[in-house]
């Protein structure tokens, strides 16, 4: 894709997201996106031949990408690997619960939103896995991971669990740093880092 094509795509997805925020998923039309973006109907269909369905699915994926970019930015500068995961989970929980559009649509149109989120969930799974592998390599070089650890497998495990915990915290109080510390160090990383690395000794 050329730069101008990417810019057009970005403009249309931002417009589609804005329409969903205003009208909801069911009521948003391609016409609304045309008006919001100031791009012609023909151009919208050239970029998204599948029309409304394709546009909305891509808009959900676009906002999800933006969410995980914010998450990646939030964890920069943490003390260590465990500290990074703690910071990330605390941030993600607050961000999901404070995400007005997400929370509104989860109440008004869960049956429309959830299938889209589930279809698009594969991207953050790969994204988080790829993000974590270099950090695990650093931990391994420092002799802080358990013997016979498969780094890719462990990164994939962590990504799955992070997505699970962001979606449903279950019995974990994800607003309490002490609880998240137990979650990360005693559960998520219990089979990955050495006890010394986990206790910071």
């Amino acid at each position: 894709m050329t730069t101008s094509e990417l810019a057009l795509r970005e403009r249309l997805l931002a417009a589609a997201y804005e329409c969903v925020a205003r009208f909801g998923i069911a009521k948003t039309t391609v016409e609304d996106v045309v008006k919001e973006s100031g791009v012609s109907r023909a151009t919208v269909y050239r970029a998204f031949p599948g029309g409304k369905d394709e546009l909305l699915r891509a808009a959900v994926g676009w906002e999800m990408d933006r969410f995980f970019i914010r998450l990646a930015e939030a964890v920069v500068g943490a003390d260590d690997f465990a500290g990074m995961l703690e910071r990330g989970l605390l941030f993600a929980h607050t961000a999901v619960h404070g995400h007005e559009v997400l929370q509104t649509v989860l109440v008004t149109e869960p049956e429309k939103l959830l299938p889209l989120l589930t279809v698009e969930q594969e991207r953050p799974l790969h994204y988080i896995t790829a993000f974590l592998v270099p950090y695990l390599e650093v931990e391994q070089q420092a002799g802080r991971v358990l013997a016979d650890l498969d780094l890719d497998e462990s990164a994939d495990f962590l990504a799955r669990m992070i997505l699970s915990l962001i979606g449903s915290h279950g019995e974990w109080d994800m607003t309490d740093p002490a609880a998240v510390r137990i979650l990360v160090r005693d559960h998520l990383l219990a089979g990955i880092l050495t006890p010394e690395a986990l206790t910071g000794r």
């Binding site: 049956e111 669990m161 449903s168 206790t199």
Partner: protein
Amino acid sequence: MSSSAVAVEERASRPADIDARILDGAMVCLSRHGVVKTTLDDIAREAGCSRATVYRYFPNRAAVVEATVRRDIDWVTDLVTASAEHATTLEDAVTAMFVTAAKAIVTHTALQRALDLEPEVVLPGLSFEGGDRMFAEIGGRFAPVFARFVPAERAPRAAEWSARVLLAYLHPDRAPFAMTDDDAARALVRRHVIPALSPTPTASAR
């Protein structure tokens, strides 16, 4: 079957049998037509009874569907619990439960059909707040199995953690390996589940 034959059969059955037959019929319908399209007539026909009989036991179609799902969840709970009955270690118990639960879920015609074709009906019960409720229920249901291996006060958390790991790997398109495979399940349990359920937590002990 003629209507008089149905009447004779209905009289001959004890109420509990009719109740179970209605739920059996409903499950067949859910597997065949899905949740939205299954009608009370379909259920009555499949159960071999009249609409009036269905209404004697259930107030409406939604109640039949809900009772069918509840009974099924109870069955799977019993099946999974029983699979750990003879386990002597936590690793054996969790591995057996993973494989049994995974098989029950991936071969569940009605559930898989709904996940494929009617995700909007199923997903609200499995994600976000629905997921919180589901995890709380799983924690309660399987705590007794875990209490054989970990202190009772930690058993619900152990059950929830195990279920969370299993479910994170069950999506058929995304799973790196089949959790129905005993060796694959055991490797995952040994690496990521058992250490998390260990009796000497590192962070909390500090």
